[in-house]
Symmetry: C2
DNA sequence: GTCTATAATTCGATAGAC
DNA sequence: GTCTATCGAATTATAGAC
């Protein structure tokens, strides 16, 4: 054999299982997906899921893993931050292999998903905002930003409210971005 | 017996089951609550749940039933509408026997809950806004309003993000109300 | 009207043959 | 490395005694 095996057989089945799991978890959420569903969708034996990932929780953890990569807000014009953040998150939600849709669907039924979401929408966004605001303010502003971003995600991807689904990405960037801008640089209530 | 039976025995157990179901569904969501959990919390036999409500779906449907009672916006000063709506929903989320928290927790795992939420946050809010805007505009504005209200609910009651939980009701009314006001009477993006 | 006992499924996980 | 067979636990729902 002059040619090495391109991909080990096991790595291919592992990847196939992971891809199937991501799609199903993003579609139905943690509890409505069974190990058997994942295996069937990938055309692989259910026992392989346990073999490669240890448990259902194991494959969920892997499916929900991803890097958020928030942009460094110091490189953004101060009055464009709201729109930049909105555009960034809309791109993430729409990318099909991202873990964020997986988390979104499962945050109310799976502890790991709930914890990861809390980390992203509390710690990470706050950290990003600390680049342009004091640490105390940053947390409150991050909370407000999170409420609008998460609500947008729920309406557009979980509830699929017609008017929110229908709006174009650029329309949303303008409208929601303006709100975020107010939450980030506007006056906070007493 | 001079005194009639105040409440039939069956009606009391039925009511006790329903109350237990509401609390549990609001706390954990549809899938994480079993018929046995409900019965145990009410101190009643699990078989009674089926007897009185037919199925787990049956008791969930009853637990999620409620009247939204949106305020008539024509009776509100035009530039106070945002705050009025915010205050109204915050009151609903906080009232423990309301069905809205039940729906919120289960919208991602239960079809009925999902459909009811869509109806409330699309049809009902849109109808309320039609009192002060044209029907075409009203739907889009209702979508934006829904995204912010739902996001607030998710952050405060499901994810329990510390800064959002910590904010007082009046702080939220001011901040979120200002956003809703913009969505309701402000300019829409092209 | 209420409870005991259990039927009927479904699921995650394991053991072991190939 | 993959699949067959199955276990054990949990769940909804039913049948029938009391």
């Amino acid at each position: 054999m002059a040619e090495k095996t391109r991909t080990p057989k096991s790595a291919r089945t592992r990847a196939a299982l992971l891809e199937a799991a991501r799609e199903l978890f993003a579609e139905r959420g943690y509890v409505k997906v069974t190990v058997r569903d994942i295996a069937a969708k990938a055309g692989i034996d259910p026992a392989m899921v346990i073999r490669y990932f240890g448990s259902k929780d194991g494959i969920f953890a892997d499916a929900a893993e991803f890097n958020l990569e928030l942009p460094d807000l110091r490189g953004v014009a101060r009055n464009s931050i709201g729109e930049a953040l909105t555009r960034h998150f809309l791109s993430i939600w729409d990318s099909p292999d991202a873990g964020l849709p997986v988390l979104l669907r499962s945050a109310s039924t799976n502890e790991l998903a709930n914890a990861r979401m809390r980390e992203i929408f509390n710690k990470q966004i706050r950290t990003a905002l600390e680049a342009i605001a004091g640490p105390d303010e940053a947390e409150q502003r991050a909370g407000l930003v999170s409420s609008q971003l998460l609500g947008l995600a729920v309406c557009r991807y979980v509830l699929k409210l017609p008017p929110v689904v229908r709006m174009s990405k650029e329309q949303l960037v303008k409208t929601i971005g303006k709100t975020l801008q107010q939450y980030i640089t506007g006056r906070l209530p007493r």
